[in-house]
Symmetry: C2
Subunit: 240 residues, 2 copies
DNA sequence: GGAACGCTTCGATCGGGCTCGAAGCGTCGA
DNA sequence: TCGACGCTTCGAGCCCGATCGAAGCGTTCC
């Protein structure tokens, strides 16, 4: 079976710890250089080069040359989704469940707010999803979700344009639940989640941290998100 | 990073050809014995036992003892979704795209109609999705889909009860697009796809083949599906 | 032009894991 | 009770691939 071999090949590509680290690092959607990825993976540049060549040949990563740098990024959204679903499985495993996923002040930031490929994740993102559901602005089920009319009004009032499912103006905007690794509950992914994150960065509500998936919630963003999405004030406090 | 290690572990588990074959074979949702899986993977029972032990330890498979048999199945729907997304990536790769996925009379059946974990896949499934979209019975987008009121009426008239997204009666029924490996276009997955397949088997429209993911479309099913979903007659002909 | 830098290629080493034969354990049927 | 069967464990062989040093190529900066 040709597909089965390709399937195993994908697994083997992801199966090496160094390559896995690289893929995880690229899951925020940015493009990183070979040297940066070597540092992330904890290997020498030669080894990283070999790994990156394999990932590019396997079409998991795409590469662009810029001068003497080579920027690597996740090749397609489908691949990012695949990695997401694999991490969701990995995060629910016994080994990961045994003790808290991460500790320390740096990881407290990750748990609070981080990027998940093209949308927001973490305690804040789950809180936003919770409130939008209870206020009837979105609906989320096991198989998908959508923005309600009330939700569309809210987003439009913020200046966020949500692409419709079928391209037509009158169509419905779907969104996708994405299991949050740290919270173990869904946050909003898909076009809606992407637009929400982009808008939050544009308006300086959130500020990405270079070299990390964590994002800083600015004082401006804290006020805006609390007000607009009716977040509980204690969402900003890191639990012990 | 604990999660990254677990992530790489999942990849390594899937990365072996023998284990990959087993997982693919189990993707129709049935539970198979260790010996059956050894045959599928083309390895000796000892080797299969070792692989299965790893897959069970990694919580990708669950096992049930029945007398001297051990039945293995995909542990959770989340894992089946993960495998699906990996196969979708594998099926779009250059290697798989180079030549037709499969040939021969046995594979013609697979291309026509097969199970995809808990729902139907293949040319017929894609045809059903196409027609339901054009007739306004379902909507499918990149991030999800839903059953329209007209679609709900159709399904209800067939005696298919679709679980609502939020459990409430008035709620909306979401469904999920799933990229068809052989057709390279989406068919219907999620609760709606599952209910549709179950109903088709109950009514003897479809008959699963033991030891294969292919399903036979009975004459009864051919008539019913053509009539109910307005399929083009040539969908039953295998292209050369 | 020369040096520093980013990245790749080549070659050698080495460890992990896949594989199967042989043997052992539990279950089923006669 | 005995043999057949399904499956697992143990052990040894063996191959693949990850890793890094050394060297080479192209780019940038001074």
């Amino acid at each position: 079976m040709l597909t089965t071999n390709a399937f195993a090949g994908i697994g083997a590509l992801v199966g090496d710890p160094a390559r896995a680290s690289m893929l995880v690092a690229l899951m925020d959607g940015r493009a990183l250089t070979a040297t940066e990825l070597a540092t992330v993976a904890g290997v020498t540049p030669q080894t990283a080069s070999s790994h990156l060549a394999k990932l590019v040949a396997g079409e998991l990563l795409a590469v662009e040359r810029q001068g003497r740098h080579r920027y690597h990024r996740v090749a397609t959204p489908a691949i990012a989704e695949m990695i997401e679903s694999m991490m969701a499985v990995a995060a629910t495993g016994t080994i990961a469940r045994r003790r808290p996923l991460c500790t320390g002040p740096r990881d407290a930031m990750l748990r609070r707010a981080r990027t998940c490929y093209d949308h927001l994740a973490g305690r804040v993102a789950v809180g936003i999803a919770d409130r939008m559901i209870t206020r009837g602005e979105i609906r989320l089920g096991a198989d998908g979700g959508e923005v309600t009319e009330r939700g569309a009004e809210l987003l439009q009032s913020l200046g966020i344009e949500i692409p419709r499912a079928d391209g037509r103006r009158g169509g419905r905007a779907f969104c996708r639940p994405c299991l949050d690794w740290s919270e173990r509950r869904p946050h909003i992914a898909g076009a809606v989640g992407k637009a929400l994150l982009a808008h939050s960065i544009d308006t300086l509500w959130l500020r990405p941290i270079a070299g990390s998936r964590a994002v800083i919630v600015t004082p401006l963003g804290r006020d805006a998100l609390t007000r607009l999405f009716g977040l509980a004030p204690d969402i900003w406090d890191d639990p012990i």
